[in-house]
Symmetry: C2
Subunit: 346 residues, 2 copies
């Protein structure tokens, strides 16, 4: 372990404003639309004639993340990424975000620097500016709140899917959920016997999907390059089932999904079986995949059809036909929204 | 007690999305700049040629509010107001905000409806649109995060005060801090003997300043009407001392404040003495006044001088002269920033 890693500076040494200065000293503004950043009552932005999109998330320790297995750097990165994902899901380019934390005084400066290092990495990878935030004390767990801002000429919302559209999803689903199950299992084993080292090397794909997800910037850029505008779009944060139901409810349509077409990573299939869960259930209800789920007009089918990493998983139908999944045996199962309860058990 | 007040609906009955629908069903968008609100991955806004300002706050139970004496409606109202205050402090008009909460499942729907009732009252009083948010579970205390957005032709930041400027503050200072001390005292008495009713009627001004502060929209509008632009501005959230030091540090100037000119309400003076604290200390370090502290060019002095509710409390001087308060006996005392530690004891 290096010298640097051994330093433990109590944040109470710095004072609130000293802490903010310390954590944000290496962030600078890059977008011409970012006029004034951290350090005033508010940030100042300049948006010309495009539309501005705004998304926000509040992440709580013990609910959305567990500091026992979330490295601070990954946590900072993920907190930003989940918000950028919402901006891409509007067919918009994220430009700026605010980042607020509430923390107990037990945290060290080094831990918070690692957190902000993750934030800085997200800034660099996704070309976004940190423009402000709030740092405060918490008497209990840690809380992180991020608000992301983007621009678009052509926003895509959830309420505009049309009967006859194809339903497409990017990447693969269910992996982040199984990554979480693996981390929770190893945590239990470790708590029972701290001498046992976690056995996670075999399933790094699943662990990475949970701890260090990426937002689909590439897909947003691909839509732009191809001149394709989805008819409706959402990012998969709650799980395929819940998220397609959002589109259907808000668009006043139904859908049919085909189980056979749902993209699954080989590790997802393998580990789901270890846990005695159906891989499809992981894809439907797991969530946190941060893939994009979108609908396209049939005229755009040929452009999407043979693109690696895009999967046509179903069709939009009339509302009277409701929302179903057709399983491999050909039977139709009504889709059910997860949500609050899923949140409790996640 | 009415029938309605006796209803206690566990929020777990509703599911996450049902809860959001229920809480936000009476909010609608009023500004032409608010294109798309709650219910998608992000809100969509349209800003023409003006500058956009963005401010965010994260409020934690037990640190920023105490549910033992903060009625939910007041809490919802205050959480919005403290962010609008930041927008006015930029010389901007707040138009929209996001409102996120993390709550344990012990809360009832009725409690959250009261919270959102306060949010709705703030929307109405200040003409702002709720455009989104996040609702999630908390394993410990409640957290509230608000991000406010506004527009301005002419933003005013903290870093542009000039030597020779007059320092002006609106309203009176220190009252919110003493309101908190009264509430804390009555809480301690109640916890020792629940039969004793709180004695707060005599000091409703102080209690209201703490529980239901207002943002200085009127002053923002007055600046506009008078065609006055402050040279620098901040809202008083941490206390006069800390906030004038922000202006001085960022503007690279010094200041001299005159104790005799600091505006104090009669109840502030009376109750400060009861608590054996100097009223000036309450004004300097108490915070949460949400008054505006600003600097003006000497040419604008005559416009400000005789306006009721505006108080010229000092002057900006060269940085080499540092930041001082001249007390009633004519002695100069160096101003000291509060901050992290104040946060702990508040």
């Amino acid at each position: 372990m290096s010298e640097k890693e051994q330093t433990h500076t109590p944040i109470s040494n710095l004072g609130e404003f000293g802490l903010i200065d310390q954590l944000t000293r290496n962030f600078s503004l890059h977008h011409p639309q970012s006029i004034l950043g951290i350090g005033d009552d508010a940030a100042v932005l300049d948006f010309g004639q495009q539309k501005t999109v705004v998304s926000t998330d509040l992440l709580m320790e013990g609910v959305h993340f567990d500091l026992m297995y979330s490295p601070f750097k990954h946590l900072g990165y993920k907190a930003v990424i989940v918000n950028l994902s919402d901006i891409y899901a509007m067919n918009a380019q994220p430009l700026q975000f605010t980042f607020s934390i509430a923390i107990s005084s037990k945290f060290t400066l080094e831990a918070l620097e690692a957190l902000y290092d993750g934030v800085a990495t997200a800034c660099k990878h996704y070309g976004v500016d940190l423009i402000g935030g709030d740092t405060s004390n918490s008497l209990s767990g840690m809380a992180i709140s991020v608000t992301a801002i983007g621009i678009t000429q052509n926003y895509v919302c959830r309420s505009t899917a049309q009967v006859g559209d194809y339903i497409v999803v990017s990447g693969d689903l269910g992996a982040a959920y199984l990554g979480l199950q693996l981390l929770e299992r190893e945590k239990r084993i470790f708590l029972e016997n701290p001498a046992i080292q976690p056995a996670l090397q075999e399933h790094t794909y699943l662990i990475e999907r949970q701890l260090k997800p990426e937002a689909r910037r590439d897909l947003y850029e691909w839509f732009k390059a191809q001149n394709i505008t989805p008819t409706a779009m959402i990012d998969i944060s709650d799980g395929l089932s819940s998220d397609i139901l959002h589109i259907c409810k808000q668009s006043k349509v139904g859908c049919v999904l085909f189980e056979d077409n749902i993209p699954l990573h080989p590790q997802t299939i393998e580990v789901a079986r270890q846990f005695n869960i159906s891989p499809t259930t992981c894809a439907l209800n797991g969530g946190e995949d941060y893939e994009l789920l979108f609908c396209i007009n049939p005229k755009d089918l040929s452009a999407v059809e043979n693109v690696e990493g895009l999967h046509i998983i179903g069709k939009i139908v009339d509302a009277s036909e409701d929302c179903h999944l057709v399983s491999r045996d050909g039977r139709a199962h009504k889709l059910i929204a997860q949500g609050w309860n899923a949140l409790h058990t996640k």
